[in-house]
Symmetry: C2
DNA sequence: TAATCTGTTGCAAACGTTTGCCGACAGGAG
DNA sequence: CTCCTGTCGGCAAACGTTTGCAACAGATTA
């Protein structure tokens, strides 16, 4: 049924090896022969069978991309960028969704292992040991998690959190809430640590609420709790939660940013569609996807690549405003220096 | 390096064919032998090589999923549902993004053809002829498009559009705008036709603005044009455009739904996060994804499956309100009957 | 007792490629 | 005319499976 290398060989009067070489090592075949083969191949509609090729070369030209939740708007831009970038390098991408379940995550890596040249693990929820084990079966690049010895690309949420907290302090807020993300998330720990350190250094109070599933519902549900703390500013694990909170506060008649300031993380497309527009820490997700693909693909040549950190940017929009205290302007530099060490 | 069927055979003292059968036809091997083989396989960490299996069986246990734009929030729920459903049936999914480009679309189908058992084509932008050609290379199931003889699952946007227009007419609007979607979209044509017919039957006016790229920017950019028409209600190709328009109108001080009513299509997650909450036609995208996978996988057994139409639902929220005319309540039934034929 | 059947296993070919090796041939140098 | 060198293309093995066929043993039937 399908046209194979053999059909092309027969039709153009050469041996199959010549056809093979025409495609995989063109310089080894006489230009004249080559063009003849190419012509008949084109005419017959021949396309190399990648599975067969993979069998002998050991390279599938496929990669796997495993994310916690495809429907979480944080991921699609990353998936899109990774896929486009991979395709440009003639790789196809398996995308899989773990539903935030570490067990499924591990199963997926194993199932995909034989079929890909490597796997991109986005914000994995597995334990370090687990990942350590899996990397022996298949090359891995991790996104948004740092594990010694493992190639990784992380977005520097710590820095982003620091900036965001400084922004809030600078506006005169002294009591903040961190609306935490899911258990097992490296990002969550980073944010919490950085935000905590920054607040502490400035003598401000930081209340942590969580852990929470990273969806808008939990953000909305947290409104009461947030108001209960008496804090005047909230920093959320992601934009989804921030937006949920934002709307929930407004629905209760709380003015944002008049009474409470809200900051998110990620800068998903919707953070600008909501009113007030959300102040947030922009994550370079597309760049992360591309970088991770690059690291995975060069993995074979030299040893495992290193760890790349991408900077994040605080984007100040309309969901943050002056707090009840004097703007701690002078404080900023001091605190920044303090925290940076 | 990787452990093969041969290693297992050697370690358990049987022939490779027995090992093979242990996995692919267990009933053909002695229970005792089977458990012994299974044990050593487990111990050695053997996993069948799908590429090799595919080579001989002709079934890859992979499917392709091609969408116009992964980052368009319409698609992720569909991708997620399809992937999860496919995986439950032991299939892996290649996801690819065409960036709304019909050329890329065709290339992708060809590139993926040899590597999958079938491809899901979501809202393709190619011509019917093009698709007709490609279906000879690989089994295809199309989503959101109707092509005679080709298995398809469509969401009945025509019905949704009808309902939405009737809703608007019932509220007392007599001049509507349809903010059109992209050229080449079957869905766009369906909506336009259904909305046009319904409006005409009721003696109302429908102005079409477009075609447009289906993103929020074009919705926002259309605000001036919409106001220029003097219409009091707008029906948009999708929620993204509706939301863009919504915010843009509000930014100009136009009250929604006081002065202008806005209706979207899709019911993406954000339509409920925006204020006012968006009235929209809910599309069963997850169900569509699952159904399409089912159709693709049973494709082999009997002939090409038929065409499935999924119903859509108008969800009335807060972006639509009374228009300047008397509510055309009595009209509704009459018009509905008229339009239904 | 011979013939037949059933259940279990081994053998080997096949799937569509790639690739190391070798021979054929041409042209240049001696 | 011989030898050498280099280019081109054929041969065949290999990749990890599946599967039709045959072999064999033991059980069943006539």
């Amino acid at each position: 049924m399908a046209v194979t290398i053999r059909d092309v060989a027969r039709a153009s009067g050469v041996h199959i090896s010549t056809v093979s070489r025409t495609f995989s090592a063109p310089h080894l075949v006489n230009p004249e022969t080559r063009s003849r083969v190419l012509a008949t191949a084109e005419q017959l509609g021949y396309r190399p069978n990648r599975a067969a090729r993979a069998l002998i070369t050991g390279r599938t030209h496929n990669i796997g991309l495993i994310v916690a939740d495809i429907a979480n708007p944080f991921f699609p831009p990353l998936i899109k960028a990774a896929e486009t970038h991979a395709r440009r390098r003639d790789y196809h991408v398996f995308v899989a969704d773990t539903d935030e379940d570490p067990i499924v995550e591990a199963e997926l890596v194993q199932a995909l292992a034989k079929q890909v040249d490597g796997i991109l693990l986005c914000s994995p929820r597995m334990s370090d040991d687990q990942i350590e084990l899996l990397r022996r079966e298949v090359p891995l690049v991790v996104i948004n998690r740092l594990i010694t010895g493992l190639p990784a690309v992380v977005m520097d949420v710590g820095q982003g959190a620091r900036e965001a907290v400084l922004h809030l302090l600078g506006l005169g807020h002294r009591h903040l809430v961190y609306l935490a993300g899911p258990r097992g998330s490296w990002t969550n720990r980073e944010i919490r640590r950085a935000a905590g350190a920054t607040a502490r250094a400035a003598g401000a109070e930081l209340t942590v609420l969580g852990p929470n599933q990273p969806v808008e519902e939990t953000g909305a549900a947290a409104a009461e709790a947030v108001l209960g703390t008496g804090a005047t500013a909230v920093f959320a694990y992601n934009d989804l939660m921030a937006i949920g909170l934002l709307q929930s506060l407004q629905d209760r008649g709380v003015d944002v940013p008049g009474q409470v300031s809200v900051v998110g993380i990620d800068d998903i497309a919707y953070s600008v569609l909501v009113r007030p527009r959300l102040t947030t820490v922009a994550n370079p997700t597309a760049a992360a996807g591309r970088t991770a693909v690059d690291m995975l693909l060069q993995h074979g040549d030299d040893g495992p690549a290193g760890q790349v950190t991408l900077r994040t940017d605080l984007i100040i929009r309309n969901s943050t405003g002056p707090g009840p205290y004097a703007p701690a302007v002078a404080l900023n530099a001091e605190v920044a220096a303090h925290v940076k060490e």
